[in-house]
């Protein structure tokens, strides 16, 4: 399969793909994120967890370029990233899924995943209008890769179905497929298992791990299901009230007193 990315050897001296330094974000007077720093290694599965309103989604939106932090630096792929528009971020190699599925509901599964190839298709309007020639070749080449993604996610049977008609679990899978088709350096998943039943969760876990193993894609994910998080992630960062309260291996984080307090509540 050709969805290959550079895999870092995690055992020795991991390379940092994304480095967030002292990020602060506020909306008017409301502070969503206060002075958070953490990094993501190449090839790892990094989980961001925390109670509701901890600033997890805001963090993802900062990485994705939907929000611009007032303070702090973002280093991606070894370069200091200037504030840029979300669509430019996609060209940098960051793809994402959304907490509330954001698919193109009127379009077929195939077309949805094809939009994921947008940043890789460079033939301009002139060639597209002509259709025959370079634009057609480009279309075919990208279509082939999309078919690989469809096979990989085991959704061959529904490829021509408009996504609006699909059940929730499958829609989540198609959304993953769209992000995957972009062959991202960094894949952001915002609650990929929210609202799923046990079986669907197991499927999704398997796909996430497979993506990470097979293509070496770096993954950052937000998830509420602690069991899932502890199982699939290499490192976990814990947020609470917009601050970082924990960072480390799943086992360390699980036994951290501050983290336990944040989740279970503590009497002051």
């Amino acid at each position: 399969m050709s969805i290959q990315n550079t895999t870092a050897d995690q055992q020795h001296n991991p390379a940092v793909l994304l480095d967030l330094k002292h990020i602060s974000l506020s909306f008017g007077g409301v502070k969503a994120i206060t002075d958070i720093s953490f990094d993501i290694y190449e090839g790892e599965v990094r989980a961001i967890i925390g109670p509701n309103g901890a600033g997890k989604s805001s963090m993802l939106n900062v990485i994705n370029g939907f929000y611009h932090p007032q303070q702090g630096e973002i280093w991606f792929d070894g370069k200091h990233r200037q504030a840029m528009k979300p669509y430019e971020i996609a060209y940098q190699g960051i793809a994402r899924t959304f907490q509330n599925i954001a698919l193109f509901k009127g379009m077929s599964v195939l077309d949805n995943i094809m939009t994921g190839r947008f940043t890789h298709m460079s033939k301009n309007l002139f060639w597209q209008a002509l259709w025959k020639g370079p634009a057609e070749q480009e279309e075919i080449a990208n279509r082939e890769l999309v078919e690989h993604v469809i096979d990989f996610l085991e959704i061959q049977a529904i490829r021509k179905t408009p996504v609006g008609r699909l059940p929730y679990g499958l829609q989540k899978r198609v959304e993953l497929g769209r992000a995957l088709a972009a062959q991202p350096k960094l894949l952001l998943l915002d609650e990929p298992m929210a609202g799923m039943n046990v079986e669907e969760k197991e499927d999704m876990c398997r796909f996430i791990l497979d993506v990470n193993d097979t293509f070496g894609t770096t993954i950052a994910l937000i998830e509420h299901d602690m069991g899932v998080v502890m199982d699939i992630s290499d490192r976990v960062v814990v947020l609470d009230y917009g601050r970082k309260i924990g960072d480390g291996n799943p086992d360390d984080v699980r036994n951290d007193q501050t983290v336990i307090d944040a989740y279970l509540g503590v009497s002051h």
Partner: protein, 333 residues
């Protein structure tokens, strides 16, 4: 065949072709509404402006001649050359693309995330601005559109069909305007190519993606601004085609901008979000109003074409508010 039957066929054919002309205008509305949720009141004025620009370029008019004369006391009006229709059309397309870029940069860009009603108001402003601007640029007198489209009844068809009527009946053959035939052919080509473009190209998919979900579109790398420029350019091109056809039919003049009003009932029938809907809606209105005028008109004093489309649209609003092909409005509780 009886002459009455032949007349009816002729009325239906003419209705279909009139319908195509309505569809051409409605198409421009649908394109912009689908991609940006804006009901573009200025679509009719865009057709007028495009037609004026085309005639102006073709006849070698000096833009803003009146203004220049008033300020400098000169008396200029024409460059003195004629531009061939083909090149004039290409230049006009370029002007419409420029127009799309300006609209995006100075209007839409500042109104992102505003209520639809505010965007609608902005297009009303745009319509009046363009109307005045067009007049200053090319003058307000009635112009004739001549890009070489044949017009007048088709003699061949008349002679071919004249013998069809039963013996002894008075029948002079079928009358169908050649201009209408060309308009129909052009509309078919336009719709087919637009559909193919939106189905099978990267930009076409991006257009549909933006119509569905802005956030998701951004996340896969689609620039909303670029898409809006493309959509308004296509709408400008469709306006040009409508402007040429209507201009060739009834002259390039202010009333051309009012064809937008004829597109409204078409949109209510076909739905605001469906390209096939705009076509079928236009055809139904065209045939409906011609047949109604033919069959019922004489009994109630005629001139039913002025109101029939609106009454039909009203009935649709009562029984099927989303139109024939519009997305079904489902409220989930």
């Amino acid at each position: 065949m009886s002459a009455d039957f032949l007349y009816t066929v002729e009325v239906i054919l003419n209705g279909l072709m009139a319908g195509v002309m309505y569809s051409l205008v409605a198409l421009g509305f649908v394109l912009i509404f689908k991609a940006s949720g804006i009901f573009n009141y200025a679509q009719g004025v865009m057709a007028l402006f495009a037609a004026m620009t085309l005639v102006g370029i073709q006849t070698g008019q000096i833009p803003f001649a009146h203004l220049i004369n008033a300020v400098f006391g000169t008396d200029v009006h024409h460059f003195g050359w004629q531009v061939p229709a083909f090149f004039a059309i290409i230049l006009t397309v370029a002007v419409m693309v420029l127009f799309a870029i300006i609209v995006e940069k100075y209007i839409l860009h500042h109104l992102v995330n505003q209520e639809p009603i505010i965007l609608f108001m902005a297009t009303i402003g745009l319509a009046y601005f363009m109307e005045g601007f067009g007049d200053i640029m090319w003058g307000s007198e009635i112009k004739t559109m001549d890009v070489g489209i044949p017009s007048g009844g088709s003699l061949w068809l008349e002679e071919y069909t004249v013998g069809w009527a039963a013996e002894g009946e008075r029948y002079w053959g079928m009358y169908i305007d050649k201009l209408d035939m060309v308009a129909t052919a052009v509309a078919i080509i336009l719709v087919v190519s637009l559909t193919l473009f939106s189905q099978y190209t990267k930009t076409g998919r991006a257009l549909r993606a933006v119509a569905d979900d802005h956030q998701a579109a951004l996340s896969v790398g689609i620039s909303l601004r670029a898409i809006w420029v493309i959509v308004w350019s296509i709408a400008g091109f469709v306006a040009l085609v409508a402007g040429i056809m209507w201009g060739a039919k009834s002259g390039v003049q202010f009333s051309l901008s009012l064809i937008a009003l004829k597109a409204l009932p078409v949109l209510m029938l076909g739905g605001f979000t469906s390209i096939p809907g705009a076509i079928i809606g236009g055809l139904i209105i065209g045939v409906g109003e011609k047949l109604f005028e033919f069959a019922v008109g004489p009994m109630i004093g005629g001139a039913t074409e002025n109101w029939f489309a609106y009454v039909l649209a009203l009935m649709f609003l009562v029984f099927r508010p989303q139109g024939l092909f519009g997305e079904k409005i489902i409220e989930r509780v």
